[in-house]
């Protein structure tokens, strides 16, 4: 049977060839692209590990953390309790993690809530286990909001318009709301009291900062600097307090060490640090016995060591102010040393 060919017009023929040519070009392009891999793909195949989200805490520690958070009427949890350790604290609080890590951070647990019947407020509660009362006080005092009133919740507690901050034993707690109102403040207080009932209280101890003379001291400036105080690497666990005296402003500092030799060693390092930064040693007949005075422009420093106690004044705006405060400090820790022989640990009850 003879084969019959269909008639094809010139336009159809042209279109057919055009389509075939396009397909051919696509084929060649695909072939070419096959050998031009995305370099990121290759690098990925070479072993770069894309690391995941925060590690989950172990079941046991999560349960322990969850037990810290009380059920309080009006507080509706928005999510389960989250827990973070030293290795992933920054996954929750980013760069602020360094502040806690340098102060002996052990674990943080947090939980968010809706509070109130209508127009619900967002509240988040953070409980930091800092390992010791002094560590907890270090992060509490290091972040103290100036001018915020102390409250009677615990020995170290203050409130801001939308939040409460306090320590209890080794725990530092933040209860933060997204707004400020009297009703909400009462709710936060109620939650704080319920939370405190869950947290084991530890016996408080006289804080070294109690040695700071009260006159001229701004109470909310007393801090325990956990690390690298005044920029000196390794100058750790130092109490500081800011004064306004009749002759100028000055910061007092105080640190107790395990041995007199350790206190002497750190005093020497601080002297070297000052000298390296351009300070000059000067003399004054009014200086307390054994005190060394350093000066740079209009800033004065005084360093004193008595037994295991290292103390002094920092960045005084006048020599008179520096000497006044140094004299009072010196007499106070002389009395303290003769009374107890040794200092005490802990920070509960610090001013």
């Amino acid at each position: 049977m003879p084969r019959r060919k269909a008639k094809v017009g010139p336009i159809q023929k042209f279109c057919s060839y055009a389509i075939l040519a396009t397909l051919g070009l696509i084929f060649v392009w695909l072939l070419f692209q096959q050998f031009r891999f995305n370099p990121a793909v290759l690098a990925a195949l070479q072993g770069v590990q894309l690391k995941g989200r925060p590690q989950a805490a172990s079941g046991e520690s999560t349960a322990a953390a969850a037990a810290l958070f009380p059920e309080v009427p009006g507080f509706s949890p928005l999510a389960p309790v989250q827990s973070f350790g030293p290795d992933n604290l920054s996954d929750k609080i980013d760069g602020k993690a360094e502040l806690y890590l340098s102060a002996g951070f052990a674990r943080m647990s947090c939980r968010s809530f809706n509070v109130g019947d209508t127009d619900q407020a967002f509240v988040e509660v953070f409980v930091y286990d800092m390992g010791s009362a002094s560590n907890a006080y270090a992060v509490f005092s290091g972040q103290r909001r100036p001018g915020s009133p102390s409250i009677s919740l615990t020995a170290n507690a203050y409130a801001t318009p939308n939040a409460l901050f306090f320590t209890q034993g080794k725990f530092y707690v933040e209860i933060v709301a997204d707004r400020a109102s009297e009703a909400l403040a009462n709710s936060l207080q109620a939650y704080a009291k319920a939370l405190l009932a869950q947290i084991p209280s530890e016996p408080g101890a006289t804080g070294q900062a109690g040695l700071f003379p009260k006159e001229g001291l701004a109470p909310d400036t007393v801090r325990l600097s956990a690390a690298d105080t005044f920029g000196l690497e390794g100058f750790n666990n130092v109490f500081t307090g800011e004064y306004t005296l009749k002759d100028g402003t000055v910061t007092a500092f105080l640190a107790e060490r395990d041995t007199p030799e350790q206190a002497d060693g750190e005093a020497r390092k601080y002297r070297e640090f000052l000298t390296a930064n351009g300070y000059e040693k000067i003399q004054s007949p009014a200086a307390p016995a054994g005190a060394e005075i350093f000066k740079l422009d209009n800033s004065f420093e005084i360093i004193m060591v008595q037994g295991r106690t290292l103390a002094g004044v920092h960045d005084a705006s006048s020599l008179e102010a520096a000497l006044d405060l140094a004299a009072i400090l010196s007499s106070r820790f002389k009395v303290q040393n003769s009374k107890y022989g040794a200092g005490s640990d802990g920070a509960d009850g610090a001013p």
Binding site: M1, R3, R4, A6, K7, F37, N38, P39, A40, V41, L42, A43, A44, L45, Q46, G47, V48, Q49, L50, K51, G52, R53, A79, S90, D91, K92, I93, D94, G95, K96, A97, E98, L99, S112, F122, E124, Q143, R145, G147, S148, T160, P161, N162, A163, F165, E174, V176, D178, R179, A180
Partner: protein, 334 residues
């Protein structure tokens, strides 16, 4: 009319054609199977990752056009609109059909009132302006510190994006690819949110002004940290170095730095309203370094307190002496 329809096909022709077609289909499938490599390309030695996210600077700015506006006020939307007008309007930066990526700071699952993240009002104003200028699509992204869903929801950024028609790109693991910054010491084969960028033609960085425990200040350049994946907290040990490298990772089209309320202390998380201060200023700038230099002043600090700005300038990312850009100054409260 089909000329072939009147020509009948007999059984033999039909079977032949069916046979040819089947053989062709089978051959194509067989060829595909033969060429299929389930393992993908083998890694090659010394291959390089991507070298950055790209240069998105506006190329067609009119000569003499202002590149920086410093706007004072209290209403974020008004401040943004006035500042944008001073820079020639959004059409100076966004053209018809552009696909715009807005990098926000959604780092924390924190409500907008606490000032730890980009304020949703600013995002809404920026997204609206992009659409009004003819943007085909507006995308919003960040790789937050906390859970991304919670972050975008609680910060109000998800709602702001939704209301304006912008789309949130969540930082799924599949969107990260390794990047090696040429000359970089830290960003080497490091996972970066590259997958948010395909088709993107413009990038706008919208940031709050914040204190930062490690970097002293978190503004536009620090906001770019949110493009990094992996265990990026290791970079906190060289915070100035990493922010300088981030300034090389991307050249944005426009930066919006919102210092209407700034986090003066206890950053970057804050937590208390006492950490915030009404600084009443918004900066719109094509230069991220200049924008941040002004932000440093809002925090009551100097350039010496924030070393990465001088380092970023030295690396060519912008001008730390923002006055050289002759910024337009506006006050929306008058």
């Amino acid at each position: 009319m089909n000329r072939g329809t009147d020509q009948k096909v007999n059984r033999r022709d039909f079977l032949k054609r069916l046979g040819y077609a089947s053989a062709l289909a089978l051959g194509a499938c067989g060829l595909g199977l033969a060429l299929y490599d389930p393992r993908g390309p083998a890694p090659l030695d010394q291959t390089k990752a991507l070298t950055g996210l790209g240069d998105f600077t506006a190329k067609n700015l009119a000569p003499g056009q202002a590149k920086m506006a410093i706007v004072q006020g209290t209403d974020r939307t008004v401040m943004f609109e006035q500042g944008l007008k001073a820079l020639g309007g959004m059409t100076s930066f966004i053209q018809e059909g552009d696909r715009v990526l807005i990098k926000v700071n959604a780092a924390f699952a924190s409500p907008p009132s606490l000032g730890a993240t980009t304020h949703p009002e600013v995002l809404a104003a920026v997204a609206r302006a992009c659409f009004n200028a003819g943007a085909a699509q507006v995308l919003v992204t960040d790789n937050p510190i906390n859970d991304p869903d919670s972050c975008f929801a609680i910060t109000g950024l998800a709602a702001a994006a939704h209301h304006t028609g912008a789309r949130i790109i969540m930082p799924a693991a599949s969107l990260f690819s390794p990047v090696s910054l040429p000359g970089g010491k830290l960003i080497q084969n490091w996972p970066v949110l590259v997958g948010a960028f395909p088709g993107v033609t413009k990038v706008i960085v919208v940031s709050p002004v914040k204190d930062h425990q490690r970097a002293n200040a978190s503004m536009t350049l620090k906001n770019l940290y949110g493009f990094l994946g992996g265990r990026r907290n290791v970079f906190h040990q060289d915070i100035n170095g990493i922010i300088t490298e981030l300034s090389q990772l991307l050249r944005p089209t426009l930066c919006v730095l919102d210092g209407t309320v700034s986090m003066i202390t206890n950053g970057p998380t804050g937590g208390s309203l006492a950490d915030l201060k009404e600084t009443g200023t918004m900066v719109l700038s094509t230069d991220p370094v200049a924008a941040d230099a002004l932000g440093v002043e809002l925090l009551g600090r100097t350039l010496a307190d924030v070393p990465y700005l001088a380092m970023a300038q030295a690396a060519g990312a912008g001008q730390a002496d923002y006055r050289l850009l002759k910024p337009v100054r506006l006050n929306t409260t008058i």
